[in-house]
Symmetry: C2
Subunit: 225 residues, 2 copies
DNA sequence: CTAGCAGCGTGACCCCTCTCACCCCGGGTT
DNA sequence: AACCCGGGGTGAGAGGGGTCACGCTGCTAG
């Protein structure tokens, strides 16, 4: 599993369009860091000046309320990146990032990245594409929080998770607690909802995965019938 | 009030860095359109291929649920733009845009804009900056929806609205109904909350504006004490 | 002037969910 | 074995806030 920095960079869609020599150059500028499960990679309000590429593992981007409750804004796996916003408009970091598993990241310094941004429009456009995608997601999430009840939000989440894996099967480990934090609900309510979905034959749950059995029903629950 | 297209373009922060000749060139490529209050400028799921600049008036970006309920994702005034996402990754439009007042917009065709994007990194970077800002906002909104109760969300909204106008005074017309749609609540609840804020001396409301009287109290209600 | 409409104020009711409190299970650990 | 701990299941109770139903006020338009 131990990929070289260059291999990791090759897998980042953002850099796809760059010639091999550029990639190698990039790999040089990179610093590798590992984070144990549960550790905080960066804090909200920090003045950060690096871009992080996920080489292995998984991290979550979270907001934490006064009372300690957590909202998961997104979960990022290998090949994705974060920390770009603070680079673009150099304001402080807008959320915490926490390792969900032991993870190794590549760290790129602001200047090295910004230079690339200025010199190659491909990278800038790739980044635009990605930010645009993330903004779309965020807007959809706002919509689901306001327009859907917990049932709908769970259905929505399941559909998206399955879509990401390109089928009806979700292998990705999703605990009820995690789901709750992603849709702004509580562990117990998610538990009851999932139970209900199983009873109604919408989904099938085993110890290690979830299978969507009745897409139409889920779609309708998620308000996109 | 009737500005020429060139004047309008000059006021768009996104194009600030461009030389005057470029701006003039841009103005040429632009088509002016007016929309009466309440009219729909673009529909969710449309395949759109234009970028819109707001010359005058005000528009809202909204999501509409199955039952017809509306969520306002953002309100855009003169000098701002929308429709860029569909250009960047050419997926269908992700929300409806509706004129809140009689508005006049400048429409720029995809090709003309994309060309500028590729040729001048300043524009690309400016756009990155703006998308980044919007993403940050969206994330904050998600946080407030999940972590705050209606009281907190109203307080949060008031603080932001005042901040945008750079003081403690909100002149911008904000009906309770509009506020409700912005924070995912109902007209009645917003009404009661505002009443409560007035009684507790947090704000002062007249027919045409709102004044923040007790920032600390509002900040604490909004969970950023 | 009178109608009509957009906004706001308020009470009553009720339901979705959150919270709290336990209990159970399976798989590592010592 | 005896524990511990992460994950999940469930009941009971309470409450925030949505919905319904009116009433009022102040514009803008005939």
């Amino acid at each position: 599993m131990a990929l070289s920095p260059l291999d990791v960079i090759r897998r980042v869609p953002l850099f796809e369009s760059l010639p091999e020599t550029e990639l190698a150059h990039f790999a040089e500028l990179t610093r590798e860091k590992t984070y144990p499960k549960g550790s905080v990679i960066l804090f909200e309000n920090d003045r950060g000046d690096s871009l992080f590429l996920v080489a292995s593992g998984q991290v979550k981007v979270v907001l934490i309320g006064e009372d300690g409750r957590e909202v998961i804004l997104s979960v990022l796996g290998p090949g994705t990146f974060f920390g770009e916003m603070a680079l673009i408009d150099d304001s402080p970091r807008s959320a915490h990032v926490i390792a969900m598993e032991d993870s190794t990241l590549l760290v790129l310094r602001r200047e090295d990245f910004q230079q690339r941004l200025r010199s190659s429009p491909e990278v800038a456009i790739g980044l635009l594409r990605e930010l645009s995608r993330r903004l779309r997601r965020a807007d959809e999430k706002i919509g689901s929080l306001v327009l859907l009840d917990v049932n709908g939000r769970v259905a929505d989440l399941l559909l998206r998770a399955a879509a990401e894996e390109g089928g009806d099967l979700i292998r990705r480990k999703l605990t009820h607690h995690t789901i709750a934090q992603m849709i702004g609900s509580s562990r117990e309510t998610v538990s009851r909802t999932m139970r209900d979905f199983v009873e109604r034959g919408f989904i099938m749950v085993t110890r290690k995965d979830i299978t969507l059995m009745d897409r139409p029903a889920l779609l309708s629950a998620a308000g996109r019938s």
